[in-house]
Symmetry: C2
Subunit: 353 residues, 2 copies
């Protein structure tokens, strides 16, 4: 057992440590204390290290994702159909999960925790997040009747609040008062950083637009929190198996989306029409980001995910400044300060809990 | 003694309790704990009540001050000379302090603590704040060569940071980590609330402009913190005597300012040229605000003053919304959230110190 733990530290796949998590549950409370985890046992340090690595990976992948989107927009209008790209992302994630599983089976053999076959009881909840995301993506087409695209980017920050609230309600995990304050600041700071001279339009959003934005934020938050609940329900189950089942249903629902939205385009122009080198890079990036999100859900939580992607947004803007000569606004500067203080308060709040 | 305390509670002049403060110094540490002071002894409750009243008075007076300025601008350009108005403000404050002292002498007789006569040792530091403000006000004329008026309004938020830093260094009072975070948020939130489509110009402020803005913030912060140091140095001394000496030097330095800047205008058009009903109201308001600031310095501190005037700025904007049909921007909304969280964190941080 001890050998396996060290091995996992070395290859950083984080595959088989999962089964140790349940045994360590009693200890895991003290891991939430950063100081404790830094000075703690090798297992605690290993968990803290893994949590840091997946969080860092998510931050970097999310940053580069946004930069690729800017790059592809500069290169020209989207010529490919978004639904086929989403389908390719889900397929790639599925393939990568299977490849990782293959390697594990080779090294460790098939066990109860890493076998692909499943029970109805285990698998029945897996389609739910994919279904929620599908509904949310379909709603996205209708909200643009009420809000323009930059306004929608601003309203998307409601996701931060909805994730926090649903995390508290569904996973029944407590945030300290300071952490709640930090979460409100994260939302305000991210929104401030995105302000531009046209942002005030969003205040004129009609009532239906607000309702849709709130429903979409709740769907997105619920999908994230529910995914965490599914993944954490069986702590010893291999994350790659859990991912495989999540992504299989993602593929299925995206196939439905192709039929609904892009059937004609795919039939007339082909499945891969308009794909470019950047498109392929974006699909690769989205797939890796998606896997990083799952890892964060397994080894950290939705709160860490929200912080990670919010900080990534700021990193993106700073990198864009150098890559594309973007204009640094005072609003962005102030928003970044508020987000930084929020990250600091979140960690302080954890220690004082 | 007990009778006097109750009496002071009743007329809320807060005149003679001052001499009890020194006796209570040992206890005053526990007063900084809000919960303790709410449930504490009658004396502690009385101090907490007085602190709240002066803070509330300052907030309301500062709010109405800004509204009067907007009103007077709407009514037309400033036709009067600002230096004579400042002189009148200092004179009025002096007169009000003397009137309050007269009442106290009538009731209690002249004592060591409320006599007007002073020693060189006591009075020698009193000109310093007035001198600092004079230098700052003179600099104000030169900074506009580098920054426009709205840009200067934004740069003035540097006062918040300079006050916090100088408060720490000069008065050697500690703020908790959370309170520092709250103070940075207060500065960021106030600035965010003032953002408009032209605010980014301030980032193009030349180097000399930044230096002047920082020097002015330091002068203003130093004057505030030094005033607190002077007033708190002799806790038993009556605040009206302390105010009298502060304002006498204020009158003197403003007389110098009239000679430097508006001598010709005063000679040709008269001292009160261009005064209107609003001008008189503004002078009255500035005088009362000034006295409220002194009271906050005596019974609370510079940190409370900064929070009070910052919240007043937000109140002003909300009132202006109804009075003048001002446009509520998303930036103002976000800044107000950040300031509100900052106020909350400041009080939380106090409890956890």
């Amino acid at each position: 057992m001890e050998y396996r733990k060290i091995k996992d530290d070395q290859d950083n796949n984080g595959d088989s440590v999962a089964e140790d998590i349940e045994n360590l549950r009693g200890k895991s409370l003290s891991v939430s204390n950063v100081a404790g985890s830094l000075g703690g046992s090798p297992v605690e340090r290993s968990k803290w290290k893994r949590k840091s690595i997946v969080t860092l990976a998510l931050t970097i992948l999310t940053s580069s994702q946004a930069i690729l989107i800017v790059w592809s927009k500069r290169a020209g209008k989207y010529e490919y159909s978004v639904t086929t790209a989403n389908f390719m992302v889900e397929s790639l994630k599925c393939a990568l999960s299977l490849a990782a599983l293959g390697r594990i089976w080779n090294n460790e053999g098939v066990t109860e925790d890493n076998r692909l076959s499943t029970t109805l009881d285990e698998v029945i909840v897996y389609p739910i997040p994919a279904l929620l995301y599908l509904v949310k993506n379909l709603l996205q087409y209708y909200i643009f009747a009420y809000v323009d695209a930059p306004g929608y980017q601003i309203l998307k920050n409601l996701n931060i609040i909805s994730t926090g609230v649903l995390y508290r309600i569904i996973l029944k995990k407590k945030l300290s008062e300071i952490q709640w304050a930090a979460f409100i600041l994260l939302c305000a700071g991210c929104t401030t950083a995105q302000l531009n001279s046209n942002s005030d339009h969003v205040l004129q959003t009609p009532f239906q637009g607000w309702i849709m934005a709130i429903v979409m934020a709740l769907l997105s938050g619920f999908a994230g929190v529910y995914t965490e609940a599914i993944i954490k329900k069986r702590p010893s189950r291999n994350i790659n198996v859990q991912n495989f089942w999540l992504y299989v249903f993602g593929m299925a629902f995206n196939a439905v989306a192709i039929l609904i939205q892009d059937f004609d385009a795919v039939m007339n122009k082909g499945f891969f029409h308009g794909y470019s080198f950047i498109t392929v890079l974006m699909i690769l990036n989205h797939a890796l980001s998606g896997i990083a999100v799952s890892m964060v859900m397994k080894y950290a939580d939705n709160i860490v995910k929200v912080y990670s992607t919010s900080v990534a947004m700021l990193l993106t803007a700073v990198v864009s400044l150098f890559l594309f000569g973007f204009h640094l606004s005072l609003a962005f500067f102030l928003g970044s300060i508020v987000v930084s203080v929020s990250v600091y308060l979140h960690s302080i709040g954890k220690l004082q809990r």
